[in-house]
């Protein structure tokens, strides 16, 4: 029986947020606090040959100036491993300030600790560095000829190349081929809260770090390795996190730098990255280029897909966001080849950026599909239906659940797809109107390790439920309150969910759109097991009206255990607990995720449609409306899920039209590292957005049947917009973002 799950419960933390009472990591009051500021390398490649810190040391309020000479060595540099693995999750296989080498602009080269942040910042500008510079590579175009195919990418989790069938033959035999290359500007996450760490040593082996992170445990494990401490010595707390979009999915250098600085000065240290530092300190979506070759029969059936990607990675890691995975299973294609090509450059290792890989890979595929539809002369939606795959084309296994065709259908209804006028036939004044669509796919990734949550029921019938997940704006605390309420059979008002600390039962960092399903499964198991424990006690208790009943015949409603077919017979949890002198009852729930390959293909599906207006003379593109329909499995909270999906769609709009970080290759630095210059959509850009979901039942993925809503909303939007621009103007777009000069 479920009453809370699915309801549009308002955010349990909403009240604190709008009143400004939520405590972010840079706001936790700590006595005796000092402030650290990181100083970054301005060159992209070379060596520090001299440093003069004397003036900085003399500046007012300065407690310490640390460089590679005095920071001390870290115990181990953890290898890059996506935080989904549940272990130490360093964002790159490199830790700065260990020697004089500079690998990328923005690399930390000094830390200043002072009594105020302003004084620390000022003193940082007084440090004199002398560098010996060496030539740097910061753009793909500078080193295309040095591209290589990595054995594995993504921290070793994915192969660098994959194939099935015989692509060359299929290409030779094809009736129609589409071959296109798409270029993508680098993107940054830009959460509104810059990353911050406050490090407090209570003793030489007792460290608390308040950190803005998607995974307190990831930070704990990473710090343990870096500092050479046991996890029992480290507590990581994340009370509230102001957005992340992947920038806080991995563990970057600032928490360890804060801890090292705090140890050095013997006082708590707060380290807040500046907005500018957010562009060089926690990864980004890498500059990339993707080539798609689609071969098809004249009826539109795809016979081969070749998908190559070329992207820029760091000197340390073979990182590419996995752009090829979702496209490889989007349609029936017996022949397939996907290859990642990498070029090493002077950059921090790129990282997860909302819909990492899918946002770019599906853009390329879905634009090519639009071209194919045109070449064959059929409706783009019809082309997708003709190539719909009822099984995972990679493994041949059935989907655990799909809903894709229903998504197409519903989106088409909501959008009025079938009534759309022919291409380039609509003009309203200066505006050319066009429509476009795309499929959305996002993989369902299972955490590797057991997920845990603790549920404790008090004898007044209220419950506290705990797990180490952090709330970075997704609404997970709210959704967990609902899951727990239904698991226990009590109203949501009687549940308090507590998360955001590594002291709590371990759950994997909330990444890959799998955070809510991972912790949700654990909370579901903890609370239903706790319920069952109380029922077990009741039926075994001589004084209970339920004495001797079959536990399976008992259900709980509003905190009262009753016989399913005789609801007048029963008692409340509180009655039972008072009578048996139980102050509380507690259960630790453990969910063991199924293996990634459990005999099914697991993906989330959706459909995107967009209508744009393009200024015929000035090239300005404005999105007028968007419809996104998704099949994300069970929806825990309609309101927060729709907000996530809508937010994702607006992200897609930004990717399509605005977002680009511009590299100046002469300096090796980003030229627009500010929110004034890196454009994200503002409210005025937000069109009419319709979000809907299709119910699909999924028994494979997890006990609640959830597939996640965090990122699927982004996927396909940019392609739908680009296809709509083509529909309006007859001009194909091969480069993101689509800025107005491309349409002049």
């Amino acid at each position: 029986m479920s009453t809370a799950i699915g309801a549009s419960l308002n955010r349990v933390d909403g009240r604190f947020k709008v009143r400004g009472e939520s405590r972010y990591s840079a706001e936790v009051p700590v006595p005796n606090l000092t402030h650290a500021v990181v100083v970054n390398a301005k060159i992209a490649s070379g060596r520090i040959v001299a440093i003069d810190t004397s003036e900085a040391e003399r500046a007012d309020g300065v407690l310490a100036v640390l460089t590679h000479r005095d920071l001390g060595r870290v115990a181990t540099v953890p290898k890059l491993l996506p935080s989904l693995a549940g272990l130490a999750a360093s964002g790159q296989t490199f830790f700065p300030m260990q020697d004089e080498t500079i690998h990328y602009a923005g690399q930390p080269v000094a830390i200043v600790v002072a009594d105020t942040i302003e004084r620390a910042d000022h003193a940082g500008t007084l440090i004199r560095f002398e560098y010996a510079t060496t030539p740097a590579t910061t753009l793909l175009d500078q080193a295309r000829d040095q591209a290589y195919v990595p054995e594995r990418i993504f921290g070793g989790l994915l192969p660098g190349h994959a194939s099935r069938g015989d692509v060359a033959k299929a290409l030779a035999d094809a009736d129609v081929c589409v071959d296109a290359t798409y270029r993508f500007a680098p993107n940054h996450h830009n959460p509104i809260e810059p990353s911050a760490s406050t490090a407090v040593w209570e003793d030489v082996d007792r460290l608390t770090v308040y950190d803005s992170t998607q995974g307190p445990n990831s930070v704990q494990f990473t710090l343990a390795e870096l500092l050479g401490l046991s996890p029992i010595s480290i507590r990581v707390v994340s009370h509230a996190v102001g957005g992340s979009f992947g920038s806080k999915a991995m563990v970057w250098h600032h928490p360890a730098l804060a801890a090292l600085a705090a140890r050095h000065v013997g006082r708590p240290v707060r380290l807040v990255l500046t907005r500018e530092q957010m562009f060089t300190s926690c990864g980004h979506r890498e500059e990339q280029e993707q080539q798609i070759t689609l071969a098809a029969r004249s009826d539109g059936r795809i016979t081969a897909l070749r998908h190559h990607k070329l992207s820029l990675t760091s000197p340390f890691d073979d990182w590419a966001e996995p752009s090829l995975q979702s496209p490889s299973v989007a349609y029936t294609s017996p022949n397939y080849e996907g290859i990642y090509h990498l070029v090493r450059g002077n950059t921090i290792t790129p990282t997860f950026t909302r819909a990492p890989g899918e946002a770019t890979g599906m853009f390329a595929l879905e634009c090519a599909m639009d071209e194919l539809a045109e070449r064959i002369g059929i409706d783009p939606l019809e082309l997708r239906l003709r190539n719909y795959s009822a099984t995972d084309p990679e493994s041949g296994k059935p989907w655990s659940s799909s809903g894709l065709t229903e998504c197409y259908q519903r989106a088409a209804e909501l959008f009025g797809w079938h009534d759309r006028p022919p291409p380039r036939s609509r003009r309203e004044g200066q505006w050319l109107i066009g429509t476009g669509m795309a499929s959305a796919l996002y993989p369902v990734t299972q955490p590797v390790n057991p997920q845990r949550a603790r549920a404790r029921l008090y004898n007044d019938g209220t419950a506290v439920v705990e797990a180490g997940v952090s709330e970075f704006g997704t609404g997970v605390f709210t959704a967990m309150t609902q899951v727990a309420a239904d698991g226990l059979g009590i109203p949501v008002e009687r549940v308090r969910f507590v998360g955001g600390s590594s002291d709590l039962p371990n759950v994997t960092a909330a990444v890959g759109s799998a955070g809510t399903s991972a912790v949700g499964s654990a909370v579901h198991l903890a609370t239903t097991q706790l319920r069952d424990e109380l029922i077990r006690r009741a039926v075994a208790d001589d004084h209970s009206p339920l004495r001797g009943a079959d536990p399976a015949a008992v259900q709980v409603r509003d905190g009262k255990m009753v016989l399913r077919d005789r609801p007048d017979v029963g008692e409340t949890y509180a009655d039972l607990m008072h009578r048996t002198f139980a102050p509380d009852v507690e259960v630790l729930g453990t969910w063991n995720p199924p293996p990634q390959d459990a005999g099914y293909g697991v993906h989330t599906f959706g459909a995107q449609m967009a209508e744009v207006a393009v200024d015929a003379d000035l090239g300005v593109v404005r999105v007028r409306r968007m419809v996104g329909v998704f099949a994300p499995g069970r929806v825990l909270n309609r309101k927060t899920a729709h907000s996530q999906l809508m937010g994702g769609m607006l992200w897609g709009l930004g990717q399509a039209l605005l977002e680009a970080t511009r590299m100046d290759p002469r300096l090796g630095r980003w030229a627009n590292a500010s929110l004034g210059d890196y454009l994200v959509p503002v409210n005025a850009d937000a069109p009419d957005v319709v979000v809907d979901t299709i119910e699909v039942h999924d028994e494979v993925v997890n006990p609640l049947g959830m597939k996640g809503v965090g990122e699927i909303g982004v996927v396909g939007v940019a392609a739908a917009i680009a296809n709509a621009v083509y529909d309006a103007t007859g001009r194909r777009q091969y480069e993101l973002p689509i800025t107005l000069e491309k349409l002049l």
Partner: protein, 331 residues
């Protein structure tokens, strides 16, 4: 942030005296430019003199039908002033299309004219920039310069003047009123903005400590039919890629009066005199508009990424002129 001392002046003489006496001091108005630049070490005053208490925020009638806007009047207040909206709609539109409501509530109109360029190298103290550090070269010439100017540039600096308000003001021949220890003076707006030439660090003819006390809008009946068009990547909260301020009157299909200025494409708010000359008395047709726009942009110089701005500016001018002609035709 560099240590800085702060004082608050309540009368003009004290404010001017304080800043004039100390070369390392500066006025602080709304702070929306000043504080940003202080925090990134681009402006390095040791002392800030807050002028927000000076009695210079009024909007007054001038004899003869003009308006005087107090230098400390907020962008938002000026944009809502009914007489301004009626007599000079393009000024109100230019203000409302700038920045954001929060910024407009803080920002003063004198500060708006005095704001510094948005060139990212100007704001990056580790990059060469002739404007910030004369003689260090212009990083934008071969750099990321999509937003940079195509008109009024030099080989020393190609930064676009960012003000929207300034564009409407140059079209109106506004006059900037100032006061310094040497006395008061009136500076025609076109002389108030300097071309970069070989001295891009000099943006205004003001002496150190000279205060902008007000801006006079001369009586300009044609300005009642005027508008400001701003083209940019996103719908709001962004500087112009190209903008046009235009006031025009048409009789019997001919242009009887024209005032035209460009923003987003030039190193100063750009009075389009060449175009005005061609349009004055010409038929109000797309052909005239196109010819005039082309003539105005003939001297434009592209620099890599910003080459598109020449075409964009041309089309934006034609768009603005056509929309005025249509409006004139129907009223």
């Amino acid at each position: 942030m560099r240590p800085v001392s702060y004082s608050r002046a309540t009368d003009v003489a004290t404010a001017i005296g304080a800043v004039s006496a100390d070369p390392q001091s500066a006025f602080l108005a709304g702070g929306t430019t000043q504080v940003d630049l202080l925090r990134i070490y681009v402006e390095q005053p040791r002392r800030l003199v807050d002028i927000n208490d000076l009695p210079l925020n009024r909007i007054e009638e001038l004899p003869g039908g003009g308006l005087r806007l107090g230098g400390l009047a907020r962008m938002s207040d000026v944009a809502e002033e009914p007489e301004l909206v009626r007599r000079y709609p393009m000024v109100a539109e230019a203000l409302l299309l700038g920045a954001s409501p929060q910024l407009r509530n803080m920002a003063t109109i004198a500060g708006n004219l005095m704001q510094r360029v948005r060139c990212s190298y100007f704001r990056d103290v580790a990059a060469g920039c002739n404007k910030r550090a004369p003689g260090t070269g212009c990083s934008a010439l071969d750099g990321i310069n999509r937003g940079h100017a195509v008109l009024g540039t030099s080989d020393c600096c190609i930064a676009t003047h960012p003000s929207d308000l300034g564009v409407a003001l140059v079209a109106l021949d506004a006059v900037v009123q100032t006061e310094s220890p040497a006395g008061q003076r009136s500076i025609p707006i076109d002389d108030f903005f300097l071309l970069p030439g070989q001295t891009p660090e000099r943006e205004h003819p003001l002496t150190h400590g000279e205060l902008v006390t007000g801006i006079d809008l001369p009586p300009t009946p044609v300005a009642a039919t005027s508008r400001y068009i701003k083209i940019r990547d996103r719908e709001s909260y962004e500087f112009a890629l190209a903008s046009v301020a235009v006031a025009m009157s048409v009789a019997d299909g001919r242009i009887t009066e024209i005032r035209l200025a460009l923003g987003g494409v030039a190193t100063k708010p750009w009075r389009a005199r060449q175009a005005e000359r061609l349009l004055d008395g010409a038929p109000a047709t797309t052909e005239s508009f196109t010819r005039a726009a082309e003539a105005e942009l003939a001297p434009a110089v592209p620099h890599g990424m910003n080459a598109f701005k020449i075409e964009l500016a041309r089309r934006t001018m034609v768009r603005a002129l056509e929309s005025m002609a249509q409006r004139e035709g129907t009223t």
